[in-house]
Symmetry: C2
Subunit: 340 residues, 2 copies
Amino acid sequence: MNKPPRRPMTLRDVSEASGVSEMTVSRVLRNKGDVSAATRVKVQEAAKRLGYVPNRIAGSLASSHVNLVAVIIPSLKNMVFPEVLSGISESLDGTALQPVFGVTEYRPEKEEKVLFEMLSWRPAGVIIAGLEHSDPSRAMLAQAGIPVVEIMDTDGEAIDACVGISHRRAGREMAEAILAAGYRKIGFMGTQMPLDHRARKRFEGFTRTLAKSGVEITDHEFYAGGSALTKGREMTQAMLARHPDLDFLYYSNDMIGAGGLMYLLDQKIDVPGQIGLAGFNGVELLAGLPRRLATMDACRFEIGACAANIIAKRVAGEDPGPSLVQLTPRIDFGDTLVRK
Amino acid sequence: MNKPPRRPMTLRDVSEASGVSEMTVSRVLRNKGDVSAATRVKVQEAAKRLGYVPNRIAGSLASSHVNLVAVIIPSLKNMVFPEVLSGISESLDGTALQPVFGVTEYRPEKEEKVLFEMLSWRPAGVIIAGLEHSDPSRAMLAQAGIPVVEIMDTDGEAIDACVGISHRRAGREMAEAILAAGYRKIGFMGTQMPLDHRARKRFEGFTRTLAKSGVEITDHEFYAGGSALTKGREMTQAMLARHPDLDFLYYSNDMIGAGGLMYLLDQKIDVPGQIGLAGFNGVELLAGLPRRLATMDACRFEIGACAANIIAKRVAGEDPGPSLVQLTPRIDFGDTLVRK
DNA sequence: GTGAAAGCGCTAACAT
DNA sequence: ATGTTAGCGCTTTCAC
């Protein structure tokens, strides 16, 4: 039985074990340059036998190439972001690039910290949620000299590239659909998140469009914490108690919308006859509900995949295509938003 | 307007800008060693003005200290894992350590690749889901000379430390509860995942315990892909069509369980009078459903937090506590598993 | 309290 | 096809 070596293994160990120079070992392990088949085999065997794991820290320092892509998102608790990550992960799968994730909790200071931390590893690119960043954050991104893709939102000024949807437009289109369907007494429910700029923009797009038609939302409520489904239930109940004459409820996400839907069905309220409903995100989950909630897909997976693709292309020196990719989600009317 | 420098900034730039030696600049930036207040201020100002971001690749190579913790999980699509990540992330928040995530898609080869990739960054520790790994993976982990915490499952042989629950026991306890409640004609539904060892162990614990009481499951079905809620619906419908006399349905996760519950409620079937139901995971989501599905908490957040804690303690040289932490989830009977 | 020298483990560039 | 040399940007160690 060999004890595991205390000193981590180096190229030199493989070199000695195989009787081949460090340089050639390095070449074999990276499939770079011409190496004779015989040497190649000798080296590979030695490396495998020893269980050699290269030290990328040294490698990256020497080559000034890093195969990391920094990905910065607000949260992991909202399924939206894991889905974006999946898109990134899958899109990067064929390449040598590797995603590294950081979470900001919707806090600009935390974003700054995480960004600094990640940039200190000199990643090959950055994918970051949103267009709103502190000045130091923007400065860091601009200075980094690497591709930066801001994702999820296109309403604003991008530093470099941008992939997402217009949340103002999403709010606007939902408002238009609701008005077109004949609803007029409208309530809004959303998360209490001053720093969730995308939710804010949807809300703004929504209320402004209503205003243009002379409609003002009758009631609105914002929540924080707790199970979204439960909150949707509770808020819906409370809002209808305050305004029994409401004929439409727009929810800033599908989860609370689903909660509201469940409540209304429990109460035997006619949906969408008496009250119409809509959410946002197009979460796959909802497909199994008794009635399909109207919603709008946020293109989460696609956004991740496309952003990663831009980074990969740029790193490879290929043409990454346009630096602004605006996806245009369509309304899914489901069963809860229909002409009265 | 200054153009962003093409050559990334180094300590030397800060040194020159501040008139202080590189060495002292380094000390200031790391709060190490004695530096006069005057010099400290000079350096900090220069660093800030220039927007200097240290190069941790060089730093880590020189110091052979890396502040990364590798976290390896099967998937991001199942909310369970983002929750574990949140636990890790929060637990590491006070420390200098930073989590780095890799996804295996439940495939041992991919796990091996991801592990190799991550170990090549010489992380300070590894947190990895499950106890089942390929021989090369186990060898890498054992050789790495860093703390390794295997999480989520305690049924097996850990390489180093282990934090999780016993899924066999979870299956067993659920079986016992179901039998105690008087149910006898039992159906099982789960994911078609030969490589999801935890689901497999729950199933084994479940069926073995039933067998001890002379009960064999009447029917079972495994699904792959699609919306879990929808699948739960469909499978439940199909299974009841095959066996209308079933009196209990055990689902390997809460999502398909919720789908089943919705179907049964739609059909006006008496739950839990005619049929009892149980899921697994304790997903917060379900709190808003019309009836609370019986379930068992998988302690996801807690597992992540505890694992991260062990790594942090070990890295800090403190006592990490016992190397096997077995959490014991209790059954939440909800409204769907009650004595008949 | 500060600085100079050496070297972390690897790879680019240049031999041979 | 293989080896040699220099150095990536920082920190450790030791000197002052």
